[in-house]
Symmetry: D2
Subunit: 307 residues, 4 copies
């Protein structure tokens, strides 16, 4: 069922961006991290996602991040580039820029800050879909942005051939099924990616094609193995791996505002993420010590050492 050559497939990694002591993009570390992710078997890269803190960078920095990663990747794996900017015009400019860098597609989050209804969400993506020079992935993350409901996905899939996928971070499995049910008959090339790491296995088993999963930025071996187990029908292995992903996910989310736990974990894998752009209180900095220890212990126990 999920063996369709025309669709996006596999696990894409939404990567954190290492910063240097001055708070600027640490290009060398970002290149090293990119190489490591590819070496560990991720199917694709996803810069400027939520884990990548896209809202905390400037327009120019977002472009620079994709530029560095596209250059370093040099075609070894496809890139899905987060391209949301302040408005449609700016977003389309970003699409053009990323198209020029050779990305496989862009991912565009639904309008955020304002909570828009389905008609406005539709109109936003329709205008983008009509004018983009590169394939577009819808990005649904209702905890942070205006929700993209299943009828809207179906409507856009029917009307906009350049919209080729949805990345859904709601974790709502029946809703993913509703979207698949509504879209796949008309658009067999349309891909469904889950951004909810604790549900990769069940999502794949119910028809999803892959995921964009933050855990893959910390333990790419684990998410790759899980994906392969599901694909090969080794369900007992996959189940055990999915429970492990859940444990890692919970360790990365609990106790610190997202994505601080991922920053701590990246350090545990041997990369220097630097301090994030969101300031931390004294109390937060103090709490990070024990959280980092717990993450390190868990990753060590699972065999994911520092590199």
């Amino acid at each position: 069922m999920i063996d369709d050559a025309v669709r996006f497939k596999g696990i894409y990694t939404p990567n954190l961006v290492p910063l240097d002591a001055a708070g600027a993009i640490d290009e060398a570390e970002l290149r090293r991290y990119t190489d490591w992710l590819i070496a560990k078997g991720v199917h694709g890269l996803y810069p400027n996602g939520s884990t990548g803190e896209f809202t905390r960078f400037s327009v120019e920095e977002r472009r620079r991040i994709v530029e560095i990663m596209a250059d370093q990747t040099a075609g070894r794996v496809p890139i899905l580039a987060g391209a949301a900017e302040a408005n449609v015009r700016e977003t389309l400019r970003a699409c053009e820029y990323y198209a020029g860098l050779g990305v496989r597609a862009v991912a565009i989050v639904s309008p955020f800050y304002y909570k828009l209804g389905p008609e406005s969400v539709y109109a936003y993506f329709k205008e983008i879909g009509d004018n983009t020079p590169v394939d577009v992935t819808l990005y649904n993350i209702p905890m942070f942005a205006s929700p993209i409901d299943a009828p809207t996905v179906a409507r856009l899939a029917n009307e906009s051939p350049r919209i080729v996928a949805i990345k859904d971070s709601s974790g709502d499995l029946p809703n993913m099924m509703r979207m698949i049910d509504a879209v796949r008959p008309q658009r067999p090339d349309f891909s469904f990616l889950t951004g909810w790491d604790p549900a990769i296995m069940p999502m794949l088993l119910m028809g999803a094609d892959g995921g964009t999963n933050a855990v893959s930025g910390i333990a790419p071996e684990l998410t790759r193995t899980l994906y392969d187990s599901v694909m090969d029908g080794r369900l007992d292995d996959a189940r055990q791996q999915q429970y492990t992903v859940l444990r890692v996910f919970d360790a990365l989310f609990n106790g610190a505002d997202f994505p601080e736990g991922f920053r701590l974990a990246l350090r545990a894998r041997g990369f220097e993420p630097g301090r994030g752009r969101q300031p931390l209180s004294v109390k937060e900095r103090e709490s990070h010590g024990p959280i980092a220890s717990r993450i390190e212990a868990l990753l060590g126990e699972l065999g994911f050492a520092s590199e």
Copy 2:
């Protein structure tokens, strides 16, 4: 994986209660419905659930419903009887009464109306667990009642041997996994049942033991087949059946307040549910015609005729 003889397994049916023209329990129709469900292969019966509108009956009526169904069932399938009453003492009296009727276990919803925190939810079930004469299933339905979180389930499972299962209607798959992960090592006899019909297959594949699913009261053939397909490892069949369950579920939920759609559907299967106890406005009654037609058409298309 889910082949453990000591646990509750399979699909239990939370049944609607047919009412006569005077609004009283229609005993004859309830007996006929009970027989039909058993004949169609449900693994167990679950009177006084949310679909059974337990809050709309009197204390005496709730007992009478279980009495009728236990008598009619005569041990052919196990019964899980909803036993929540106004307070712990009354709930324990109901437990005693249902124990005397030979039910397999009772199901007790978390305290509702007031939204209680985890400590109070724990204390409530602990006192019940310490004094019940019959096995208890926790019933978590956070959209209607105080949530029972995973640490509370684990705590109760560790301390109360008579608490033997949880029925979770949240549909939150990762949370179900957290509960399984926290409880199963210590309590391999503890059963996990999903009350969220659109996710039966993925829940079973991730380790759940069965479900209490309202769709099984309308299309018991379908949920039984789905369960068997999953158990036999026929995943392609199961997936198709799960998508069908989702379509039925959505048809039963959309357009009418729960569980009115189930009442319309029961009529489409050849049973006379009568008018419910919740009054309907003129506008609602008018809207029910088209909803009933759609449900009937869908059930007919799926081969589930009136009997």
Copy 3:
């Protein structure tokens, strides 16, 4: 503005029900508490409200509570009796019973457990309004029960003369204004009572007629004074008193599940509420000591001693 003789006015007290060592209604203490509230100047009494834990008593106990209080009150102040039962028929029976006891009106909470839409909420109250022998107050408490929206209140006010008031515990001031705006022109006799203690003064100033306020069960002097200050146009006094009500309210709500803080506070005023029917964990019982001390200190500081 709020000097209309035909409407319900003033502060009604939703009282806790003292229990004896066996967990039964402590009639003597309930009578003593009733006398004390009247002596302290409450405008009316409101048994079987949310503070009165109506859902934790049996049908018979709810009747007994009103019976005791009506007898003890002997007409000194009006009684608003909570009359919600399992379904319309049972609720109407309660209305008849309370009418026979001479209550001023009944208060009926919107259907709870199930979350009903506006049409079903309308149909429920319409059937009650058409058949009740006693005046009815709608009770809107959206955090616990199906919301009663402003158009539904207007519709019921227009169609059901026996529905004479709404008690709104949402605390949503603009929504209270929307209801007043929609209802008052057609029904100048319809009363608006706020159940949100921190907003009594602004609600009265924007057109509400009074409140049913749990703080008045603990510090009836305070809420009476606040009401009088607003009525007399002494806004600086009223403001200071409203801030005091807020402080008391927060002390009673923080740290313990509602209405445990009110039980602790009642003891601080010299009444013995007994242990509640909702069991408490060891941790909760331990936490109640410090909470009780804080409440006692605050009440002492405000001059509300034990009696």
Copy 4:
């Protein structure tokens, strides 16, 4: 009570930004609109607020908007400039820029997209407060951004003298009172502004100092009169005016995604706002005709003609 010379007071107008046919800032119309608002008696101006769609403009455009309005205002009324940018460093640069333009203060919305906890919200504003060259107003709008809770406001007020006010758009009156109660004793110069138009009068009566109210951009006469009525103690007038504000507010919010209703209303007052940057679907554009008619009728009925 609210007659303290050191605090921000009055109604500030969060203005829409007129766009020309090419979608660029329509400078001439923005200048004309600025003059009109001042002539109508607004106490201050608030560019780059939520009504001003700050997220839909580029960094450069946000600066240009303030520049135009500061130039046009020429000191006639104070300006509160929205200064939130992608991160602390960029936000501080904007603060510096607006300080150079002579604004009275900046307003900085809590971090959005990510939902941050109180410690991170505190750390964000603390770093800004320690480094800003201009007074800062906290902007709490929990429906769109991370909430700023009362203890965090108190903490920041105590530690950061340059943080001088909070603009609260939650509409939660008791919470505003909690903030006032916690802050005013230590910081009598700290100002409390409500961004919730339906509650201006009650907020002022409970101790708030003013508001930043979108309705004042459409009917500045109305909000000015309301403010003056409250200040002068003419409560009956004020009440009637507040109900009128509520009716206008509801007309501007209902039926269209915010702030489209305000754009339609601005046109009804004789200004050409142009098309917004958020695309509209055909269905939305069709629905705007009737909404515009209703708004125009209401404004006409209230005596607010086109100019």
